[in-house]
């Protein structure tokens, strides 16, 4: 069996005495689209923050392509090919849309901290950024300050920034939070399009999005994964229905 894209072993996180993540083992294969669902306060965002080293785990390990990530800074993890978006829109609001994406390309194109290159001169950067803008349908907003975009556009830009660096493991934290139905459909299509052939891990509340996108689903309840499997298997799992999904599915209808 090939090395999984992302592997979690006995991952735990306490904040003081409160155990938020209580031992998670999870293996996500290459090019798999994996959704993490669960009720509010289950620790989904905390789990994301542990994987991306925004928080340090209390115990356990995270492996990206078989390589342990403990002790690495967020920027180092990003350089290894893992990129994430945030639940609360996290863009460079005073810079233009184009520059937002271009900044996301800089490291991937090997510019590092150079001060002997002019970014305007690089055709690769300009064309790369415009290709991303085209993919996320923001080409017409190219030169506007990102902070002035509509909410859905900002979310799309956030996804654009996340994928721009060419990372092969993409983590999206509630990409459709706070969106209308049509916006949600739009973003779902966008995610499908831009994560083609990549590993996608996403936290999502909207069951329509989850069942539409995910190859496999993990259900997180009180810091533990109570079930992992295909959407059909998870839907049928009595434990899941009892803990969470039943109520959520009923609420949907």
């Amino acid at each position: 069996m090939s090395v999984p894209a992302l592997e979690l072993n006995g991952l735990k996180k306490n904040f003081g005495k409160a155990e938020i993540i209580r031992g998670i083992d999870l293996s996500i294969g290459k090019a798999e689209r994996h959704a993490i669902i669960g009720p509010n306060g289950a620790g989904k965002s905390t789990l994301f923050n542990l994987i991306t080293a925004r928080f340090a785990p209390s115990a356990g390990t995270v492996k990206l392509h078989g390589e342990e990530l403990s002790g690495l800074q967020p920027f180092e993890i990003n350089r290894k090919g893992l990129s994430r978006s945030f639940q609360i829109t996290n863009i460079f609001s005073r810079m233009t849309v184009f520059e937002n994406v271009r900044c996301a390309l800089l490291w991937a194109q090997g510019y590092k901290y150079s001060f002997w290159n002019l970014v305007n001169r690089s055709r690769d950067l300009t064309e790369g950024a415009e290709a991303i803008l085209d993919q996320i349908n923001l080409l017409s907003r190219r030169d506007l300050p990102a902070g002035t975009l509509s909410y859905a556009e900002q979310r799309a830009l956030e996804i654009g920034i996340t994928i721009a660096g060419g990372a092969d493991v993409i983590m999206l934290d509630e990409p459709t939070a706070g969106m209308s139905h049509s916006e949600t459909d739009y973003i779902t299509d966008l995610i499908l399009k831009v994560t083609e052939g990549k590993t996608l891990i996403m936290v999502e509340h909207d069951m329509g999005v989850v069942f539409g996108l995910a190859d496999r689903i993990s259900v997180l309840v009180y810091g533990e994964i109570i079930a992992t499997g295909t959407p059909e298997a998870v839907r049928a799992d009595p434990k899941v229905q009892e803990a969470y999904l039943g109520a959520a599915l009923e609420a949907e209808h």
Binding site: P74, C103, S114, W116, L118, N120, G147, Y151, I161, G165
Partner: protein, 443 residues
């Protein structure tokens, strides 16, 4: 769930940014090479021909001071405007660069074979050296921590100026003579005009380099880190290293400003290091506007004029400079550059003409009212501080007795009427402004 209408992070609703991309007149145009080069050519021409207009030595001194302040303010804005780092002790990098240059000037044998024109480069290297050391620990985070460290280091070095006498020269500072340098193609820099061109050349080179810096990957990432350090980290960049590089570069250019100061004044003292100088450069930069590259240039020009020209007219110049700064912070956080750039959309819409009359109707009375207020301030100052028996003062080409009532009444009336009219016409101006910013439509 977040409400989409309020969750637009960082969007400032008071800003008139039109988001209609279909209208070509509203789309910000691509910068053509011509548009990028033109301002620099104009700047070079202005710097070349200014001495032909202002020929006397005191004017040259003012222009030199302006140039030095421009470099320093631009360097400072690499931190404040572009990197989002508020420094309260940036004078030390200019100061240390300047002191180092003074010491080079005083190494008579070495200096005799040293062309003066490259001296500021050494100032820059020393400023950069200090920034390398301080930046290694101060750039770990931005915000309050950075501001406090900068303040602490600034105070520390300013205080050590009386302790490390060998380098800082104690209370009398370090002085030297630039003319001992090796003549540069026969130029010995005895005359002010020669120093002017040396300074002007450095201003162009430094400003150009700082501008280009802002267009490099690390310069772009400085903006990204300013806006959102966490996001930048998830793009593969360490926010700390990005800040560090900006800091070191800023220290370098501040050091160049210090070196030019050394050449111009041939003396450096504790004053070049202390918090007052650091505060002044913050004021200059903010006054000009941190949001645009050219903002600090405007700030440096305006502030130097206030400092030099106004200080000849009144002892209270610092009061007026302070008021100007306060008004900028409160009413125009974008600074003078922001004020100018606010009008770009109006010009693009071709409606600038609609604003001329409302502006005149409000700003002329406002200016008269402010002059009246200034007269009251000056008269109070004279009344309180002039020698006993000296009751006469001259203000706006009129001589009068500050101990009689009439001048007070006149000044008071001018103030009230001027500001009153300005206030009364302000709503019209606001309406005209909104109208002028509206795309299409309108009368």
């Amino acid at each position: 769930m977040s409400d989409p209408t309020t969750d637009v992070k960082g969007a400032r609703p008071d800003e008139q940014i039109t988001t209609d991309p279909t209208d070509p007149s509203q789309r910000m145009r691509m910068q053509t090479p011509m548009m990028t080069v033109a301002p620099w050519v104009i700047a070079i021409l202005i710097l070349m021909f200014l001495p032909l207009v202002f020929t006397n030595n005191s004017a040259l001194t003012i222009m030199n001071q302006m140039s030095i302040t421009i470099i320093f303010a631009l360097a400072y804005n690499m931190l404040l405007g572009q990197g989002g780092m508020l420094s309260f002790g940036h004078a030390v990098y200019a100061g240390v660069g300047g002191f180092a240059c003074m010491h080079i000037m005083n190494m008579s044998d070495f200096f005799a074979s040293f062309p003066l024109v490259i001296l500021p480069l050494f100032g820059g290297l020393f400023g950069m050296g200090l920034a390398l050391i301080v930046g290694s620990f101060s750039t770990r985070s931005a915000g309050t921590v950075f501001a406090m460290i900068s303040l602490g280091v600034g105070e520390l070095i300013a205080a050590s100026s009386v302790i490390v006498v060998a380098f800082f020269g104690g209370e009398e500072g370090v002085s030297g003579d630039r003319t001992y340098a090796q003549p540069f193609f026969g130029v010995e820099f005895l005359q002010q005009i020669e120093v002017y061109y040396l300074t002007a050349a450095w201003v162009i080179v430094s400003a150009l380099l700082m501008f280009l810096w802002s267009r490099t990957p690390v310069g772009r990432m400085a903006n990204a880190v300013r806006d959102n350090p966490e996001r930048a980290e998830f793009l593969g960049y360490s926010a700390r290293w990005v800040r560090f590089y900006s800091f070191v570069a800023s220290g370098f250019f501040a050091g160049i400003a210090g070196g030019l100061f050394a050449i111009n004044y041939e003396i450096l003292t504790e004053e070049n290091l202390n918090t007052t100088s650091s505060g002044v450069i913050l004021l200059v930069t903010f006054l000009g506007g941190v949001g645009f590259f050219f903002g600090p240039i405007i700030g440096a020009v305006v502030f130097t004029l206030v400092q030099t020209v106004l200080s000849l007219q009144t002892e209270l110049w610092a009061f007026y400079a302070g008021s100007l700064f306060l008004a900028t912070v409160m009413f125009f956080p974008g600074g003078l550059a922001g004020l100018i750039m606010m009008h770009v959309p109006v010009f693009k819409l071709g409606k600038a003409g609609h604003l001329v009359m409302p502006y005149l109707k409000t700003l002329i009375p406002a200016a008269i009212g402010i002059l009246g207020l200034a007269a009251l301030v000056e008269m109070t100052f004279h009344f309180r501080h002039a020698a006993t028996g000296d009751n006469e003062m001259t203000l706006f080409w009129t001589t009068f007795d500050t101990h009689s009532l009439l001048p007070w009444l006149i000044a008071g009336a001018v103030t009230i009427i001027g500001l009153g009219i300005a206030r009364a016409t302000a709503p019209d101006l606001k309406e005209a402004w909104n109208e002028a910013n509206m795309a299409g439509g309108g009368a």
